[in-house]
């Protein structure tokens, strides 16, 4: 146990790196999810095509391969990224492709009558999306986004393959340096679990806040 305490700064640093990767990756993923999900509902064919190509490529290939491309192949094309940036981009772009389908599905789930009411009130398409559709679609997205947040956290461990010392890699370091196996892996098991619990609690809090004052659950009968 003393040895673990001795090595704890390594684990703390790894935890911090994993948190940064998760937050950064989530920011990229959410941005891509909204841009792609909404673009796939556009009336313009070429916009839909671009969004669909991104979706299919990033959903259809492995995150690890995408990471290697961003970190090892892009430099040959003249784009060199810091390991952390490459890691955040790969994780975010990968998870964002899944997220875009969540956004698209939730937007489509809003009753058609809501759009018709907006037309009758002479809203523009942007106003319709901003003030009526998204406020009703986002609560629908939340539970799935919670799941994907946890998926994203677990996905961050792939970055150790491009020289980043994240939480998983730190455990390996401790194991090599100390000769202990059970203790460091037990420690990171618990840390990952705590981090994912934080995501669960955060999403629950958001769901509660959004449900506040909306009367009966949505989707029950005509409104």
């Amino acid at each position: 146990m003393d040895i673990l305490v001795e090595f704890s700064p390594v684990l703390v640093k790894g935890t911090w790196t994993t948190i940064i990767l998760t937050l950064g990756g989530s920011a990229v993923a959410l941005t891509m999810a909204f841009i792609t999900g909404l673009t796939r509902l556009s009336r313009r064919l070429y916009l839909r095509a671009v969004a669909t190509i991104y979706l299919e490529i990033f959903r259809g290939t492995s995150a690890l391969v995408q990471l290697f491309w961003i970190f090892f192949v892009l430099p040959f094309l003249g784009v060199t990224l810091e390991p952390m940036t490459a890691g955040i981009m790969a994780i975010g772009l990968n998870m964002g492709s899944y997220g875009s389908e969540v956004v698209r599905g939730a937007v489509l789930s809003v009753d058609r009558g809501q759009r018709e009411a907006c037309a009758a009130l002479n809203y523009t398409r942007f106003q319709t999306m901003r003030y009526v559709i998204l406020p009703q679609a986002i609560p629908v997205m939340l539970p799935t986004f919670g799941n994907q947040g946890i998926e994203l956290l677990k996905l961050t461990s792939v970055v150790s393959l491009i020289t980043i010392s994240d939480l998983t890699f730190s455990a390996q370091l401790v194991r090599t340096a100390s000769g202990l196996t059970l203790e460091p892996f037990m420690a990171i098991l618990i840390i990952y679990f705590i981090l994912s619990s934080c995501i669960v609690q955060f999403v629950k809090l958001l769901e509660k806040r959004m449900a506040k004052g909306r009367g009966l659950p949505a989707g029950k009968g005509a409104v």
Binding site: A119, A120, L121, N122, Q127, P135, R214, V223
Partner: protein, 257 residues
């Protein structure tokens, strides 16, 4: 064309694939006129309101609102299909009340009536609120401002929807079967509000309804549709007491029986 015409349909047709719902429709509505559109389901009467509200496009023909083309605009001397912007300009004068209310469930009753004023007309918050409270009191819901649509009865929801549409001060109001989704005991509270509007305002009103007795007292003119064409139109007394056409008689007979 008469200058004094609020709405005109000129050879207007609407098809969904092979199904033709309106056939070469021609009719005019004067400013301030209250008109009821009656007829069997699928006769095309709701489609007329939906075309006016820009929810459905025209297949052929023209629709004019206050002398302006609705589904077309003039570009270099030629009439071309209307842009989104043109539709928005022309439909600003039109309000609609839906069969299924379509209130915004994420907003309180008060916000359902204030937000559209702010968003689509740029009305300042205090004025929007003042107008909303006044309208909600007019429809008898002054005590429900902070409720959410999910907490209201159908009749109350429909009255909020009427207040919401009125808040934008339309010159034309479209009512698409406003009481068809309501429990029978809630119908009269909505009809009372509409009766009041018909008497106290000079708005042009088009009502699609199956409430024949209300259509009779509400309207200046009743139009009977069947299979996408106007079978007969006239003053309510004439249509309901002395219909000329066999089809009108058969249709009305079902309501009296």
């Amino acid at each position: 064309m008469n200058d004094n015409t609020m709405i005109s349909f000129e050879n207007a047709s609407k098809s969904y694939g092979a199904l033709q719902v309106l056939r070469n429709l021609n009719f005019h509505v004067d400013p301030g006129e209250k008109i009821s559109l009656i007829g069997p389901s699928g006769s095309g009467k709701t489609t007329i309101l939906r075309i006016l509200m820009t929810l459905e496009s025209l297949t052929s023909g023209y629709v004019l609102v206050d002398g302006q083309q609705l589904w077309h605009e003039e570009k270099q001397g030629q009439l071309v299909p209307a842009s989104e912007k043109h539709l928005q300009n022309v439909r600003a004068d039109i309000g609609m009340v839906f069969q299924h209310f379509n209130l915004f469930p994420h907003l309180s009753v008060l916000k359902n009536v204030t937000e559209p004023q702010r968003i689509s007309r740029g009305v300042a918050a205090p004025e929007a609120k003042e107008a909303a409270v006044e309208l909600l009191e007019m429809v008898g819901l002054g005590d429900k401002l902070d409720h959410y649509p999910g907490q209201l009865s159908g009749g109350q929801k429909q009255r909020v929807a009427i207040a919401r549409a009125l808040a934008l001060k339309p010159r034309i109001m479209l009512f698409d079967e406003p009481t068809s989704a309501l429990d029978p005991e809630l119908v009269s509270e909505v009809l009372n509000v509409m009766r009041k509007l018909a008497h106290e305002t000079d708005m042009t009103m088009l009502l699609v309804t199956h409430e024949m007795s209300f259509a009779r007292e509400f309207s200046d003119r009743v139009i009977f549709f069947d299979k996408g064409v106007i079978v007969e139109q006239g003053a309510p007394e004439q249509i309901f007491q002395n219909p000329c056409e066999e089809r009108t008689r058969n249709f009305l007979h079902k309501f009296i029986a």
